[in-house]
């Protein structure tokens, strides 16, 4: 294998052409370092996997997520984020002495203790660490990747990246709070109370999987989005200017005014392509010519493509015949427009899904079912701003066009709709005329994934919809307690909305 990184066949091809790479280190306790002498090779492979995840996220997310370079070390410095040891009794005084001067500047520092039969996230054994992860050696890669994937995601938001150390430490706690309040699943057997750290990747593994420990990236993205939406509703990410982004490209083949090429382009993700290898077979040459244009394929041919167009060149990218460099064009007015939205609406906004859950029901069932389960949802960590239950948001739809506003909420401003089907549901004017047609419209337009169907009092489903009667699965909640109904709704939200 070539020692030149650019010539190596690596899965994370985008990583090869950017300087947007964070240098981080893993501190190995002396006895661990001694026994795991092949750690350096291991870390290389691990870093490639980690960067492949980051690349996959970069292909989808309209922000630049930095890549990570990991190196092992046997002492403290500012780039260290975790400490690996395999013995309960290590030389703690010497360790504390070494970490001393770096402690203040660390945003988070995790103690990884390799103990074969336990997989827990807990309080640390001393005040230096934010958390202690006790894990079986087979999970080493998984745990390290999870932690550094969150480091990369964190640094992709300008308002987090630019925060001071104290705010960054508070951020780590917020992730844990979010994990608890949203009852997210976790790969750990046990997670301690009131911790200062959590990585969202811990909640995105398929725990039935025994070997690969792969991460469900879609779920991971959704959790991050939802978390930022909830905890940083007024913060706006500012992407670097395109000129500055282009300067992060590893080579200097780009003309200095190349950023002007993006002037007429719509906001979004773009990739600058260029030839990367001179050893072209006639076949490859033939494939590259129509892509890069010009009479002959050369290093000076540059092309800007969209995300969709890039996907056509997968093999050429993986084989590193083409270099690709991501550029994000952010909406010019995004900062202003978001700020304006915040002013106009006290509720969380930033996208159309204002509420997490909206509830459709007839008033007859308000007292017995709806209000109790909405209150039970509050106990599960939801706020009143998260739930569109009419009594809590009367001002929102008051007025002559209240029905229209409500329809719009069901249609656009909620992530999930809970429909409590009752014998009078279709007959009632409000539900039958205003709400059900919108819900039915969502079903017909293949947005039924956001609809959770509950029923009471042996409702005849045929009277509601022949389609629901034939194909639908409806949860009968007549004999369920409010907390049980709330749990069902919360599970639906976590499994169907956040996960997808």
């Amino acid at each position: 294998m070539s020692k030149n990184r650019k010539n190596r066949k690596e899965p994370a091809y985008l990583r090869n052409f950017t300087r947007d790479v964070l240098q981080r280190k893993i501190w190995l306790e002396e006895s661990y370092a001694k026994e795991h002498s092949n750690t350096i090779d291991g870390l290389k492979v691990l870093t490639e996997t980690l960067n492949k995840y980051i690349q996959d996220l970069n292909l989808e997310i309209c922000r630049n997520i930095p890549y990570i370079s990991l190196k092992p070390t046997t002492g403290a410095d500012d780039a260290v984020r975790m400490f690996i040891r395999q013995q309960a009794q290590f030389d703690e005084p010497s360790f504390m002495l070494q970490i001393g001067e770096h402690y203040i500047g660390l945003t988070h520092f995790i103690d990884l203790f390799v103990s074969e039969g336990v997989f827990e996230l807990d309080h640390p054994s001393n005040e230096v660490f934010d958390a202690e992860i006790i894990f079986n050696s087979d999970y080493t890669r998984m745990v390290i990747i999870d932690i550094f994937l969150d480091v990369a995601m964190f640094n992709s938001y300008s308002f987090l990246r630019d925060a001071d150390t104290e705010e960054k430490q508070a951020f780590s706690k917020k992730k844990y709070e979010y994990f608890r309040s949203h009852h997210l699943s976790t790969c750990f057997d046990e997670v301690g109370e009131n911790l200062d750290y959590y990585s969202f990747a811990f909640s995105c593994h398929d725990i039935s999987e025994e070997t690969t420990f792969s991460i469900n990236l879609e779920k991971y993205r959704n959790i991050w989005e939802d978390f930022i939406h909830e905890y940083y509703p007024n913060s706006v990410h500012k992407e670097r200017p395109i000129e500055q982004q282009l300067k992060m490209r590893v080579d200097k083949h780009l003309p200095s005014d190349y950023h002007n090429e993006f002037d007429d382009k719509e906001p979004g993700i773009y990739f600058v392509l260029r030839l990367n290898r001179a050893d072209l077979s006639p076949d490859i040459h033939g494939q590259l010519l129509p892509i890069l244009g010009g009479k002959d394929v050369g290093f000076s041919n540059l092309k800007i493509v969209t995300k969709t167009e890039l996907s056509k060149y997968g093999k050429l990218l993986r084989e590193l015949y083409i270099s690709a460099f991501k550029v994000v064009k952010q909406e010019k007015d995004s900062i202003k427009s978001v700020a304006k939205n915040e002013e106009a609406k006290p509720q969380k906004s930033g996208n159309n899904h204002c509420y997490k859950i909206a509830v459709s029901f007839t008033s007859k069932y308000r007292e017995k079912y709806v209000e109790p389960f909405c209150n039970a949802l509050l106990k599960l960590g939801y706020s009143k701003d998260d739930i569109f239950y009419d009594n809590w948001h009367k001002v929102r739809f008051n007025g002559p066009n209240g029905g229209e506003i409500m329809q719009n909420i069901y249609k656009n401003d909620c992530r999930m709709i809970v429909v409590l089907l009752s014998p009078d549901y279709i007959e009632r004017r409000w539900t039958g005329i205003n709400e059900w047609p919108v819900i039915e419209g969502l079903i017909n337009s293949r947005q039924s994934d956001k609809i959770c169907l509950l029923s009471v009092d042996s409702v005849d489903l045929e009277s509601i919809s022949a389609y629901i009667k034939t194909y639908g699965i409806v949860e009968d909640v007549s004999n369920m307690r409010p907390d049980e109904i709330a749990k069902f709704i919360n599970d639906f939200y976590n499994d169907r909305i956040i996960s997808h």
Binding site: K44, V45, R141
Partner: protein, 302 residues
Amino acid sequence: MEKHKIWAPIDKVEQEKYLYHYTSFENALKILYHNTLKFSKLSASNDSFERKPKVKLDCKDLKLHQIYSYIHDGLEKIRCNIRILCFSTDADYDKIKSQYVEMNSLFSKDMIRENVLGRGFALPRMWAQYADNNHGVCLVFDKKKIEDCIKKCQINFYGQNVEYKAYYQPIIITENQLDQIIKGINTNPLDFVKQISTSDFNYIVYNYFTKLDDWSSENEFRYITFSDSSIEGDVEISSISSALCGIVIGERMGDVEKYILELLLADGFNELQLKQIVFEDLTTRIKAIPCSSKKKGSAEYV
């Protein structure tokens, strides 16, 4: 992602889920290479009492002494046809709980987490006596799966924990039972014992699943079966790899042995967890083996 629980401390492990078989390095290679486990003769046991029928004649007539000797010899011969397969088990947590909690009160949280004392693969005397003085191996089996393997081999078996007693109390044979026993021993002694075993479970428990307290540190669980043949090792279980879920190597196993074991496991035992036992000053822990050939793509090992 549940596999790691095999190595959990005693208070966290599922009771009676695993069985542990201690053996020397050479025997482990045979077991793994042939993918079989053999039942051994009860008469070859290292416990002298195992070979002795624990019966007493309830008769004061001295003339019957010769008859008693005849019965005794008959039963002892039958023992040659009885095969046993022995394992260790995890300690019964309920029984050791108070001591365990007391011990943990003196330890740090991390020491408690790594300490596997009480687990069936962490029995110092077993490592010394059966695993070649810590140079050998302890094979970890899933109990349910090993029983499936035995059933697949169409072997009739009884299996249960060995009971430990301070003294043996003999089974009393009354004068009335004598004729029946003599007839049984004279015609087909093996069938006779099988018949008693089926009809009187206490007999089988007492004779084959009871040992003196002296052996209690073995935490033994055993399977017995009967064989018409008296050939050593003629009853064997095949395809045991399906029940094998981990291998622990002794603290003193040499690098060459380790390497040979790794090579053997790399061929067909890829999912198997290979660990090493480490007896520390106060605790006992299991550690991963940072090896070169454990799995394909070993460079990924960090």
